[in-house]
């Protein structure tokens, strides 16, 4: 394989990796503030894509359609927390998992009713020929994906480190009770986490839709990959989730290059199981702190 071909695979790996990172960040945010793994996280990825397409179809300009899709998804995320999860906040993991699974099922079916069962495509954010780099072609949309992911990560980092809200979120992730004693509105933090997580997922879904198309059933696998990204890095750490996403994307792309494109999805899922079974605290996570 030539080096430019390898570079091409690397680029495609970093492209899907960035998407996994965005979805994985959502898992991380919600997990940090609630200890819940949101099985509906993938559906926000789906919502971002299909809502953006729907926006364009009703005549909205593309940027507005994307913003609207992200905002609406965030609203759905917040609503999900308020309506379905908060009343059962103190129940065991089993109940909360099933509620998020139920939400996931409903979101997916509603999307099918609203937008039909077919694949749909979003126009490229900036049309034009691919950019050439060392003999490899980079689709302009890929640059958008990287750019948006970078902006999201920087924004999130600033939020975490520089703002009162970020500090409140970190305190809540350490201990709800302690955070409440410090006067932090933990319920608000939880709600914002869900909104942000949904927005990140939706952003990923909208950003990748011009490349891969999207449909009502795109959520489950995106969710799994995003979870794999989050778990690869070690749940609860945003930077680790991003790294996990990129590593997963590249590994997946290399497996296409060297093993088989047929089993691309299966390979990254096997990787997910391997990490879950061997190092549930993630590659970067500390061992011993069992929150399983």
């Amino acid at each position: 394989m030539s080096s430019s071909e390898l570079l091409q695979f690397l680029i495609s790996g970093l492209q899907s990796g960035a998407i996994y990172a965005l979805v994985g960040l959502g898992f991380t945010l919600v997990y940090a503030s609630t200890g819940i793994i949101n099985f509906a996280q993938g559906e926000f990825f789906m919502l971002g894509g299909v809502l953006a397409v729907a926006g364009v179809r009703i005549g909205l300009p593309l940027p507005l359609a994307i913003v609207a899709a992200v905002v609406i998804s965030a609203g759905v995320g917040v609503a999900m927390e308020r309506i379905a999860l908060r009343p059962r906040r103190d129940s065991g993991a089993l109940v909360l998992i099933i509620i998020t699974i139920g939400v996931s099922m409903v979101l997916k079916s509603v999307a099918r009713h609203a937008f039909g069962p077919n694949e749909m495509a979003l126009p490229a954010f900036t049309p034009g020929p691919p950019v050439l780099l060392l003999g490899a072609a980079i689709d302009r949309q890929v640059l958008w994906i990287w750019g948006l992911t970078l902006v999201a990560v920087i924004g999130l980092t600033l939020l975490y480190t520089r703002t009162r809200l970020g500090r409140a979120m970190r305190a809540t992730s350490l201990s709800h009770d302690a955070a409440r004693l410090m006067g932090i509105d933990t319920a608000g933090v939880v709600m914002i986490s869900f909104g942000l997580a949904a927005a990140l997922g939706a952003l990923g879904g909208a950003a990748v839709a011009p490349l891969t198309q999207t449909a009502f059933d795109a959520g489950a696998r995106a969710g799994l990959k995003g979870f794999a990204a989050a778990i690869l890095g070690g749940l609860g750490n945003p930077i680790a989730a991003v790294l996990g996403g990129l590593v997963l994307g590249v590994l997946e792309s290399l497996s296409v290059a060297f093993i088989s494109s047929t089993y691309k999805d299966a390979i990254s899922l096997v990787l997910l199981l391997a990490v879950l079974f061997l190092r549930p605290q993630g590659l970067l996570g500390k061992s011993g702190r069992e929150k399983v």
Binding site: I37, V106, S109, V292
Partner: protein, 326 residues
């Protein structure tokens, strides 16, 4: 009439109605629909033990169902392997896959267990489509022969219905016995307080693997029966939606009960096919129900957990308790 008497008479009556049905009707559609109910009951019996009693979630039982279906489809094509042996092999294979998956999953609980089974299910979905040599890819397998028991070929909808329901009834009776004896108590103990269970001498790890393999095997058995009664298998059948629908049946039926999930399974499976029971129903109503089946299941799951976490079984329990105290 005492509760105990109702508890004995109701199942016996139900069994008699089930077995007598072919005597009073020859409605093919009705038999087909009821066959699906029976198949789901077999899976639900295993899932009730795994999830309802032992508190272990699985989002991968559609995959075990698929393993059973493809095994029978592959083995019995061209009559290569007798039906009974193929069905047993399918059951054992599904149980073995369940066992192999359960071993490393021992370390996982709650969310992680859910994700691991979900990941497994998606891997199997990929395999069902891509392992064309065995599964026929997207086209699936066709022309799977009907069940043959010795000299009898079970080729009518009524016959298939009876075969499936007799199997389902046996499985349910066994499951009902199980939960009332030592292993069933151990399952409930495991769910209730794992430390307490260990202190009672229960090998909790072994038990978790056992019940997972058992429920996987039952899903495989149902899948095997499905393949030979429908005659074809295609990968879309064994989707995540099916797994979630099965979980919804347990949630709606209530944990710690066999009867509750049985009722929920009958209800949720019949829902999209109510026209089989009520012939005069307008087409639109039926197609609406079929179209919204997943939404209904999802919403039912959320509503039950928000407002009646005990499910059907819990409601009945609290009703009879209120009755007792009067």
């Amino acid at each position: 009439m005492s509760r105990r008497l109702v508890g004995t008479i109701a199942p016996v009556l139900a069994v008699m109605v089930v077995l007598a049905l072919p005597l009073v009707t020859t409605d093919r559609y009705l038999f087909k629909v009821l066959t699906f109910v029976g198949l789901n009951l077999i899976v639900v019996a295993g899932l009730a033990l795994l999830f309802g009693y032992a508190g272990q979630i699985s989002l991968g039982h559609a995959a075990f169902f698929g393993i059973g279906a493809y095994t029978v489809g592959y083995l019995t094509a061209d009559g290569a392997v007798p039906w009974l042996i193929a069905t047993l092999a399918a059951t054992v294979l599904a149980a073995l896959v369940g066992f192999t998956l359960a071993l490393p999953m021992l370390r996982l609980k709650g969310h992680y267990l859910g994700m691991a089974t979900l990941g497994f299910s998606e891997i199997m979905t990929v395999l069902f489509v891509e392992a064309r040599g065995i599964t026929g890819g997207n086209d699936g397998l066709r022309g799977i022969p009907y069940p043959v028991l010795g000299p009898f070929k079970i080729a009518t909808p009524g016959g298939v219905y009876l075969l499936v329901w007799i199997t389902a009834i046996i499985v349910l009776v066994l499951a009902g016995n199980l939960v009332r004896t030592r292993p069933g108590r151990a399952l409930r103990a495991l769910h209730g307080a794992e430390l307490g269970a260990q202190a009672c001498g229960i090998d909790t790890g072994r038990l978790r693997v056992q019940v997972f393999a058992l429920s996987a095997g039952l899903a495989g058995l149902a899948g095997a029966l499905y393949a030979s009664s429908v005659g074809y298998v295609s990968p879309t059948t064994f989707s995540l939606e099916f797994s979630v629908l099965l979980v919804a049946m347990i949630v709606l039926g209530g944990t710690g009960s066999i009867a509750g999930p049985v009722a929920a399974c009958v209800g949720l499976t019949l829902l999209p096919y109510v026209d089989a029971l009520i012939p005069g129903l307008p087409r639109e109503a039926v197609s609406f129900l079929q179209d919204w089946e997943a939404d209904i299941a999802g919403i039912v799951m959320i509503l039950v957990l928000l407002f009646a976490p005990g499910g059907v079984a819990g409601l009945i329990r609290s009703m009879t308790r209120a009755g007792d105290s009067r």
